[in-house]
């Protein structure tokens, strides 16, 4: 309604802004650039965080029991077997199974070596099994059987098919199926699934062998009690989400990645803010005496403010759109050439960049508005 009534005034505001090609372009470039950098940085980070939790996401168990010193899922600290028995005996536990998660060096047919993640699924339940694209999951029990995951690292296993053989610590391994998981891992190595016991047989181990215990509670209400009892035994039980945020926190705060990304995001914000803020302010200053003339003719302060807010919002949203578009395009291009490119635009990234753009627009218009409210129409009248 207010917008409708003032549409002529806003149309004037729009023309003042857009007809000033040079400044409008500078404003757009500033905001587009800032938005692009902010989203690109945070998306890259989100992608990395997502991949750092790949195993947790792919296995998908509700509760993960681990050694309290575990920092990331990739660096499991083996648990003694009695912990599994104890967890199984807890009230509220529907089932609990062991998971093996480790790495091994494969010798491929051409004689080259390739590191790989090995995931060993509980033999009786196969909890956490991937989605098969070729072969049958039951074939995992066959002799020397491994299932290869078709992710972006798949080609590093020489793009195997069912029947492809390799060596793992002088054991023969054979691909019996191909499968998909929802998230590839961060570390650029391919992943093989096998059974828990075969993993133990093929890969040399420390005294303790269980990497994680996967627990399903009887009801969601049991989670708290399970966590408490596990903690009483000196171990840590985390829900899937808690585990993922723990891993994220590790990468964010205990590695250089997080701080650097944060710094870059902040810098792009500041650069965007200063380019656009500065340009917008000059734009207002350049028109200040005409705003004064409008005031003298009879424009109300509220109307002048709405003109400026409209201009700032318009530039901000257009720049935001361009920035998001540019970022999506670039990530798409990068993915087309680098299957490993770990950027991910999340709603959080978009929201964060949006909030920053709003701050840029608000602070730019603040100074403009102040300036315009302070003009004395008399000074305009006097010339």
């Amino acid at each position: 309604m207010i917008l409708e009534l003032q549409s002529g005034i806003l149309r004037i505001a729009y023309k003042l802004l857009v007809n000033d090609r040079t400044k409008f372009a500078a404003l757009l470039v500033g905001i587009t650039f800032a938005v692009f950098l902010m989203i690109e940085m945070t998306s890259l980070f989100a992608g990395i965080l997502m991949r750092s939790s790949a195993t947790v996401i792919n296995i998908g168990a509700s509760i993960w029991v681990m050694d309290p010193s575990v920092q990331t899922v990739a660096n499991a600290i083996p648990l003694p077997n009695y912990v599994l028995d104890e967890v199984r005996s807890l009230p509220g536990v529907k089932y609990a199974v062991p998971l093996y998660s480790g790495s091994a060096l494969l010798k491929l047919r051409d004689g080259s070596y390739q590191a790989a993640n090995i995931v060993g699924l509980d033999d009786t339940s196969l909890i956490g099994s991937p989605q098969m694209v070729a072969g049958n999951i039951q074939d995992i029990f066959a002799e020397n059987a491994f299932i290869a995951i078709e992710d972006s690292e798949f080609y590093k296993l020489e793009s195997p098919h069912i029947g492809t053989e390799f060596e793992l610590n002088d054991h023969r391994g054979k691909i019996v199926g191909l499968a998909r998981v929802s998230s590839s891992s961060l570390f650029g190595v391919p992943t093989l699934y096998t059974t828990y016991y075969r993993a133990l047989q093929y890969i040399p181990n420390t005294r303790f062998t269980i990497s994680y215990i996967l627990v399903e509670p009887k009801t969601p209400a049991d989670v708290a009690a399970i966590k408490e009892r596990v903690a009483a035994d000196g171990y840590l039980a985390l829900t899937k989400d808690e585990f993922m945020s723990k891993i994220s926190r590790f990468y964010m705060y205990q590695t250089g990645i997080g701080t650097n990304m944060l710094l870059m995001t902040l810098i792009s914000f500041i650069v965007g803010l200063s380019i656009s803020g500065q340009t917008f302010y000059t734009f207002i200053l350049e028109n200040i005496d005409r705003f004064g003339a409008l005031k003298a003719i009879g424009a109300k302060s509220r109307e002048l403010v709405s003109m400026i807010l409209f201009q700032a919002t318009f530039v901000a949203l257009t720049g935001y759109g361009f920035g998001v578009g540019l970022c999506a395009l670039l990530i798409w291009l990068a993915r087309a050439h680098l299957p490993d490119y770990a950027a991910m635009i999340t709603f959080l990234n978009l929201g964060l960049a949006f909030v920053m753009v709003v701050i840029i627009a608000a602070s730019s218009s603040y100074f403009g508005v102040r300036k315009v409210l302070l003009i004395e129409p008399f000074d305009i009248f006097r010339g």
Binding site: A293, I297, S301, F381, G383
Partner: protein
């Protein structure tokens, strides 16, 4: 004749301490509907200051201004702005045209501020550009126009809403004699009626003939003056 504008002993000071100037000194001023009143006087004598105070742009330090009996300086800021928008047309000493709008859009601004329909406002703007002889400049930005042409655009902007009070500060300063005369004559013949009042500050003796009354301002004071007296100077 009914009184349009009445100012009663208004004063205005500017500056502080040594620089303090008494720009308008205890001035009484009256202009009636149906009248075209001129204010003449040397530079710095307070003409623009007086115009601003009687048109609701500059608050007098003392004294009162009424328009049709209503005390304009008792209005709140927004109400006063609305009053100026609806009732007063201004020509400023400088034109203050938006360089990024077309000439017609500049002229249409008062109507747009009155929330009039855009196309309607622009067609009225073209009508008044014709009045000031600039019908073929409607789509150009004002910067492409000469100084005199810009002044005519400012005049068109002042009259577009057909306000009943028109306040022109040196409207013909950069116009050649004939153009200035033609425009003021048009204003006199077509816009002045017994419901309208026009106050013009000018140095331009070529348009004196259109005045009903001429006031002289000197050092902040206003005195009545005869045309013959001015012509003699």
């Amino acid at each position: 004749m009914t009184t349009a504008i009445q100012a009663t002993s208004i004063n205005k000071w500017f500056g502080e301490g040594e620089a303090r100037t008494h720009a308008v000194k205890d001035v009484n001023f009256e202009a009636n509907f149906g009248e075209m009143v001129y204010v003449v006087g040397p530079s710095g004598s307070g003409k623009t200051t007086l115009l601003s105070m009687i048109s609701g742009i500059l608050r007098p330090d003392s004294g009162a201004v009424t328009i049709e009996g209503a005390d304009i300086w008792s209005l709140a800021a927004d109400a006063l702005a609305e009053f100026r928008l609806r009732r007063i047309g201004f020509v400023f000493q400088d034109y203050h045209l938006f360089p990024r709008l077309t000439t017609a859009e500049n002229v249409a601004l008062p109507l747009i501020l009155q929330h009039r329909d855009w196309d309607e406002a622009l067609s009225e703007a073209r009508r008044d550009l014709e009045v000031v002889g600039l019908e073929n400049r409607a789509r150009l930005p004002p910067v492409k126009l000469s100084g005199g042409e810009q002044q005519r655009v400012a005049i068109a902007r002042a009259i577009i809403s057909r306000p009943d009070i028109m306040i022109f500060d040196e409207p013909t300063a950069s116009l050649d004699g004939d153009t200035g005369r033609t425009i003021v004559q048009f204003v006199r013949e077509h816009l002045l009626s017994d419901k309208r009042c026009i106050v013009i500050v000018t140095h331009d003796s070529r348009i004196y003939e259109f005045a009903d009354r001429i006031l002289k301002m000197e050092d902040g004071r206003v005195t009545g003056v005869e045309r013959s007296e001015l012509d003699a100077q």
